[in-house]
Assembly symmetry: C2
Homo-oligomer: 318 residues x 2
């Protein structure tokens, strides 16, 4: 009980400092039958997500199949979102590529458009690279962009990128670029790592988002900023409700409910399953399409997934 009270105190003071906090969706990218990005469907989905309580849109993340998009396709999609009326301050686009010039180009475009920040993967082709090499890669991007409006969120997703951020690296980046290095998305699936990042850096205003709503309550109690989560694409209102009511007596129950929905997706290839569920509820089969190397959800997997979701009390009206 004493420990919990302490956590609450930390969380409250951190929440007050946080510039960005809440639930972000790493927005799925719809493709047409020729595998081209479908800008109108994308904008419609973004608007629906904001209407459901998402604080923002982490477009061009892993769930967005962003690494299956060219730099030009990302630029064009960002421009089309802005043209459709999505507020720039709701956007946290992924801009981290293997090549520094690509990361610089996408980051610059996001900053100039007024985006809230950028979510930046480390260069992920070479494995086992040094802390010094990763520090230099980020320093090079930040200095080439050279804009005081830049807010960098470090995208830590070792299960996929295989290259991540050590506490030492975060410390060096924060020391070198205070105010610019603004936070992290921790998709390590390791709550101990999230806790360590929050404990070490949240006091300096560093905003730590969990990469799954499964950790949302613990993230907020510890002093984190919220979550950026794939299932935010389909279950945003329920996740947002926990974000709002995390200090209420029903918080544990809300957490359990969103966990049950997440579990149904985690048993399947997550991106194809999310797209298939949107296709089902929106009665719009085009949503099922993914770009290779991903493969759309098998028809046979659909009914069991919908049954499980229904059992978990899931509903969606996209």
């Amino acid at each position: 009980m004493a420990e919990r009270a302490t956590c609450f105190a930390v969380a409250t003071s951190s929440t007050q400092r946080a510039r960005l906090s809440g639930v972000f969706a790493p927005v799925l990218t719809p493709f047409d039958s020729k595998l081209q990005p479908d800008a109108p469907r994308f904008a419609r989905h973004c608007k629906w997500l904001l209407s459901q309580g998402c604080r923002g849109l982490a477009v061009f993340g892993t769930t967005s199949e962003a690494n299956s998009l060219s730099v030009e396709e990302r630029e064009a999609l960002l421009a089309s979102l802005l043209a459709s009326g999505i507020p720039a301050e709701s956007l946290l686009p992924g801009t981290g590529c293997c090549a520094i010039p690509d990361t610089v180009r996408l980051t610059r475009a996001a900053v100039r458009a007024g985006c809230a920040g950028v979510l930046v993967l480390p260069p992920f082709y070479y494995k086992g690279v040094s802390e010094e090499g990763l520090f230099r890669a980020f320093a090079e991007v930040i200095e080439r962009v050279g804009d005081s409006r830049l807010r960098v969120y470090l995208y830590h997703i070792p299960p996929i990128a295989q290259v991540g951020f050590s506490a030492k690296l975060v410390e060096r980046l924060l020391a070198a670029y205070p105010g610019t290095v603004a936070g992290m998305k921790d998709s390590s699936n390791d709550i101990a790592n999230t806790r360590a990042m929050i404990d070490a850096f949240a006091k300096d205003g560093f905003e730590v988002f969990s990469g799954s709503e499964r950790f949302l309550l613990e993230n907020l109690r510890r002093g984190g900023a919220g979550c950026i989560t794939a299932t935010g694409n389909v279950n945003p209102a329920a996740i947002h409700r926990l974000y709002q009511e995390w200090q209420s007596p029903q918080a544990e129950e809300l957490q359990a409910r969103i966990n049950a929905v997440r579990s149904a997706f985690e048993k399947r290839p997550v991106i194809p399953a999310l797209k298939a569920v949107i296709a089902h509820y929106a009665k719009d089969a085009a949503w099922r399409t993914v770009r290779p190397p991903l493969v759309e959800l098998a028809e046979a997997d659909m009914r069991p997934l919908l049954d499980e979701l229904e059992k978990a009390g899931f509903e969606m009206r996209p």
Copy 2:
């Protein structure tokens, strides 16, 4: 003895069929002090490699830091090489990116330029992808390029890309695109895999290159096409000699000698070490530069590396 004779027979018949065979260098990419690709140094190095017996130049590979280059930078470097007089038929550029549009764009440019083939990484961001997804990714590239001159070499490097080619996937690709799917670079460092690929597919003209000269003799005896090897950047003549004399009595001795040189590099970060050695022998410090996330070889590592190389009988006159 009987087994060896059989191997020779297979090798000979396969060598006769092979369209491409020999030693290829995955050419290092020099950068200037602003980390920009240095086209004149690059062309000079390419010409030196060809003068030393390299059959061809696998530009834009892993050793080339190609994934640290933008698509535009690769296009510009390819054009500059051709303009400098490097024959297109000596070129086997790497064109595989995470995003299909990028792979298509680079592959198309290579085919139109008359390159001997393209070396294609699988899309490497998502891990644990299915054989079906990888098949679709390659099918999409081959069909979008839609050019009968296209020759695709599959770039199998699971230690870095983490995504590779199963025998089943190669079989499917060969069946769907015979004549277009032309071979493989096997950088698995697993000679059993190389043997299996040669045994299964070399009879159909599929050219299997080892990703290290350490396996060159065994590759050729088994019926493979040669090697595409990082150390080809510094030791091409000795490796080429083994390629030429693999059926001679001194083959084992030649193999042992090039292995000793390779060992000196393998104990260090290979790309920075190769660049540092070229910088040393060419008396051109600019060659040391690498792009982040790589870091140049530490000064303190230089003397021990040179000593080991000297002991291995290494010399280089770039």
